[in-house]
């Protein structure tokens, strides 16, 4: 019990940073599901591409000892490049693999999504090899830099990751709730045909949804690289699955739900390692998913969005 209390604050920090990544991935899943009722299984691989874009921007601005331009700028560029790159990739995937299947049975688009997932994975393996690459965040942000409160230590990198995740989520929330585009997105999610009749350009809204969702995945990829270091072509598979689980826990199609689900999953996994056993991390995470779905089949916040199917 003493050990539990002593480690709890640090494990909370660990869990929040992992949860932030899951939440950002879950958002893209949930948004796309919201407007298209499509499980975009290529989403995890878009996240992986984002992690690699961040990696190559970082490597490009490093020369052995340190960055050749101010470190803050490098980090910003990493996020910017990964988000824009992934946004474009997401829009491309939608155009090539999903648009023509929008009227087809839902299973067709699902299979198409799996195909895109394999395509991206293999394309990256082919061009970049299957080797692990390591981010070198210590060259941008000194590892000594950070905050120590009692037994808790938050390194500057981790702090940046958590702040970045929260800022992006807040920005998305504002966008969906306060802007015209956000209103259109909500309208299309509720009823695409009625939205079209009201003069909303549904295609444009869908493209915007894919762009924003994929950009968030790109940011999640960069955060993963900065905090968890290791990136490789297959990293998107499990992360995508976890993001999907987080979206389902929160109630798929629901944006605050995806954020909540992401943080819950991150905390559950971290606590599983911290207080039970690392061996059972995934078992416990998926057991929690099943438990939540048994009690609330629509997910924690799922009721907010009526299912029109």
């Amino acid at each position: 019990m003493d050990a539990f209390l002593a480690q709890l604050p640090q494990q909370l920090v660990n869990g929040l940073s992992l949860g932030g990544v899951y939440a950002l991935i879950a958002l893209g899943y949930s948004m796309v599901y919201g407007v298209l009722k499509l499980l975009n299984f290529a989403h995890g691989d878009v996240y992986m591409v984002g992690a690699f874009i961040g990696f190559f921007v970082m490597t490009g601005f490093l020369d052995g000892a340190g960055p050749i331009i101010p470190a803050v700028l490098v980090v910003l560029l990493m996020f910017l490049a990964a988000m824009v790159g992934c946004g474009i990739l997401g829009v491309g995937v939608e155009r090539i693999a999903y648009r023509r299947l929008r009227k087809a049975p839902r299973i067709a688009a699902l299979i198409s999504a799996l195909g895109v997932s394999f395509f991206i994975q293999n394309a990256v393996q082919l061009t970049l090899s299957a080797n692990f690459r390591s981010y070198q965040p210590q060259l941008l942000i000194p590892p000594e830099l950070g905050l120590s409160l009692l037994d808790v230590r938050i390194s500057a990198t981790r702090g940046l990751a958590i702040v970045m995740a929260v800022v992006l989520m807040f920005a998305l929330h504002r966008l969906v709730q306060r802007t015209k585009l956000g209103k259109s997105m909500r309208a299309v999610a509720t009823d695409p045909e009625a939205a079209a009749m009201m003069g909303i350009d549904v295609d444009r809204v869908i493209v915007a949804t894919f762009f924003i969702g994929s950009a968030l995945a790109g940011a999640a990829g960069v955060i993963t690289g900065l905090v968890f270091i290791r990136v490789w072509h297959f990293m998107g598979f499990l992360a995508g699955l976890k993001g999907f689980v987080a979206a389902v826990i929160g109630g798929i199609g629901n944006i605050p739900g995806a954020m909540l689900g992401g943080f819950i999953l991150g905390l559950v996994e971290t606590f599983a390692i911290g207080f039970v056993s690392a061996t059972f991390r995934d078992v416990i995470a998926f057991a929690v998913l099943i438990l939540i779905l048994l009690i609330r089949p629509q997910g924690l916040l799922g009721a907010k969005l009526p299912d029109k199917a």
Partner: protein
Amino acid sequence: MRTRLTVLMALLALVLAACGGEADETTTTAAAPDTTTAPAPDADTTTPAPTTTEVMEGPTAVPDGPITLAVMGPFTGGAASIGQEQLNFARLAVQHFNEEHGWDVQVFEGDTELDASRAVTVAEGIISDSNVYGVVGPAGSQEVDAVGQMFTDATLAFVSPSATDPGLSDRGFDAFFRVVPTDADQGPTIGNFIVDEIGASSVFIIDDQTSYSVGLADQISDALDAGGAEVAGRESVTQDLSDFSSLATVIGGSGAEVVAFPGQIASQGALLTRALQEQGIDVTVFGGDGFFSAEDFIEGAGGASEGSYVSSFAPDITGVDEAADVVTQFQDMHGDFGTFGPPTYVSAQVVLEAMLRAFEASGTVDRAGVLAEVGNTNLASTILGQPLSFEANGDVVGAQFFIFRVEGGEFVLAD
């Protein structure tokens, strides 16, 4: 419509190409290297003669059919830096053998990605290729376990340059040999070093759920018990775990002075040292032979692994007299290397020399003959700086482990 689609596809290609364009790693064989027979290193000097009469013009006779040496290893995937080194050393051994004896032995690359089920598929391909008369590899103990009976049934000798699970000696794999010592030696070597040299009284142990790692972790645990050190905790992680922060908190809370992590994926060792450093936890990391990768464990850790230890089944051969030529030649071709390559050179040498002896004895090369001759191996010295012969169960006679420490960004022999 079509033009817009083309533009988008071009954009997609551009994004991917932009990623690819900056890749500058030297180890790039991701493009389906698994079942391709590699071209001869230098086909111009030693063209295989079509008839036996022409063969006689050389200093020694040469077998008339094509002869292939299969090399199994993790040429891609998480252990690729190790696998590439193994492959390059095996190639060098073949090149040396061909130059010395006028043979034209080819290399068959079997990429297993350190995965037992892939190793089985690769082994099937090797066994069905009638030109293959001997195998170097596979690298991992779990792979040897998976393919051992297949090669034994095919009377095809296979010599692993890095499988160290002691249990493999008792599996009745008659075709199995290894040129490295087993974890029955490695576990006690690590455990005793932690107790006697580092002087730690409390140790946390992690394994990565492979038979190699669990077995070695058990051996270390036993040695610590015997030496009077306490095992503060034992955890087991999957090889794809990247977030070690939660585990680091647990280790920090356990009061351990040393964390022993005999994993197979060196980058996981780097991630563990980074997570400990991030939380300001002062614990020494001790890896097994799987972490002996300068690229993954030292460069990948960005300084966090400084002061960590790893064990190795082979010495640093840059200090071995017999190895001087091989060292300079390899460095000219591929740059620096670790401890996985040299035993692979020796493994290839063992199989090739066995082929030569089998051919000289009977006038032909066949699998059973090569297998018998591998068992008769008796090298007075190798590039590992020690003589080499095999026990009846395929283990090496009188081998030992070495301990290295990360100092100034390099592995330095600790003693």
